[in-house]
């Protein structure tokens, strides 16, 4: 039986009086790529933001290696080994590319040379542009930067929120190849995507979220072949 790294139990999240997550359960095993799919407003980003501590849940548990992250402030969760690359990239636009990467290693006593080399190897474009302000990068390059920044903390669990959002197909391919590479080094990945096809090709398992609830769960292959998934998220007609 696979070793659980993250286990979300009966999670409820509210924004004021709006219920965004209405009792979801899911788990991520060590070394897996797990994808969360769902339409706009399904609660995918909310789920990731709750895991990384930016939002506190109303009820439920987020067990990560037997610690409950639900009770921990965001800046401490990074130290536990969970990094979050947020939706819309959110790079620090007025810092240089290199400063963005270095700030990713804030929780480490120093910037790890090997990790830095690995990242520049994964995304050579960032090396060429390292003195440039992050705000002047293209959307795709900013996405590479956001992922790199998250990797600098040497996470065991990497949360990626829509890495393909608003990015040209050629760069999407490049980014998904990089995610595969990252996964091969032993990093567990929780990938939120609207691009269901690309995500399921990469993932081991997936969950479909619909207005705050998990409606379908299964292996990536099962989901790819599920008629409901095909119709709703893969653009296939019955």
């Amino acid at each position: 039986m696979a070793e659980k790294l993250l286990e979300v139990k009966d999670l409820f999240v509210n924004y004021g009086s709006i219920q965004a997550i209405k009792g979801i359960d899911f788990e991520v095993n060590k070394g897996e790529i797990v994808s969360i799919l769902g339409a706009n407003g399904a609660g995918k980003s909310t789920t990731l933001r709750t895991i990384s501590g930016l939002i506190k849940p109303k009820a439920g548990q987020i067990l990560y290696k037997d610690v409950d992250l639900a009770k921990m402030p965001a800046h401490k969760i990074v130290r536990e080994g969970v990094s979050h690359s947020p939706e819309g990239r959110q790079v620090f636009g007025t810092l240089t590319v290199e400063e963005n990467i270095r700030i990713g290693a804030f929780v480490k006593p120093s910037v790890d040379k090997d990790t830095l080399d690995w990242i520049y190897n994964l995304f050579p474009r960032l090396l060429e542009r390292r003195k440039q302000l992050a705000g002047t990068l293209s959307g795709g390059e900013q996405q590479m930067l956001a992922i790199s920044r998250a990797l600098m903390a040497k996470p065991q669990l990497l949360l990626l929120d829509e890495p393909s959002l608003g990015i040209a197909p050629i760069l999407v391919k490049m980014i998904f190849t990089a995610i595969k590479e990252i996964s091969k080094t032993g990093v567990t990945v929780l990938l939120v995507e609207q691009n269901a096809k690309a995500a399921l090709k990469l993932a081991d398992r997936g969950y479909v979220l619909d207005v705050g609830k998990v409606t379908i769960a299964g292996s990536a292959t099962d989901l790819l072949n599920d008629p409901k998934v095909q119709e709703a998220y893969l653009g296939k007609k019955k």
Binding site: S52, V78, H84, P86, Q90, T94, L95, I103, F106
Partner: protein
Amino acid sequence: MDIFLQQVVNGLIIGSIYALVALGYTMVYGVMKLINFAHGDLVALSAYIGLMFYTQLIGLGVLPQPLVVVSVFVLTAIVAAAVALLVERVAYRPLRNAPRLSAVVSALGASMMIQNGIMLIWGPNITIFPSDILPAVSWTIYGITITFVQAAMIIITLVLMISLTLFINYTKMGTAIRASAINQDVAKLMGINVNMIIMIIFIVGAVLGSVGGLFIGMYYRGISFNLGWVYGLNAFIAAILGGIGNIPGSMVGGYMLGLFTALIAGYVSSSWAEAFTFILLILILIVRPTGILGERVAEKV
């Protein structure tokens, strides 16, 4: 020419004070998008506290004069930092997620508390700093006279500005401060404790402001409980001129406003300085609404 150079020197001195105080406004605004109205009053409080320390230390008669002066600066900075942290904790932190207006009202309340506190403790009349805190030496170069106090003010301010610039731009904590100013949530995702960053910001602002307060006392000598409004307002204008939230902007804005007021005082009349200051402010805001070095806000979205 002599008047001009002399006024430039005067401008650099008053500009030093404005720049030191403006940095406190700008750093807090940069990270919290909040105007800390209590900052000017903290500067005033520093002048009073510093004078108290000075009188006590001189009364003790143990330390030599230079050490007394250094101790006064250090002790005052510590007290100012402590008061700033208290204000942040009591007046601002509980309102971190409240509507903007609540924080503004709270800031004004904190300002009035400190100002009235000063008046209750030290009275409503002008308090005078002794004239012999620093040596009464002066030099005349090319027809300009510069006193020891003036030289000390210009040099100490420059050293502080350079140190701050290096800290903000080249240290890990400085980068964390800049990151927190751009996006607090993402800064948290980097493992940055934003509460701690805010405390550091308040401490740094208070320390610089306390130096400004002591300079005001040592240079102008007469201090009153409402001094925070006068210098605070000018420093605030300096921060806006430079682009509020922008650290080098506040330095430039401070010196620029100092030079400008000194030249107006030299060539027009000092009673016109304030009116011209506002004209300058309006003109700059028309030409560059975000201040001289301010970034375009739209870029952030």
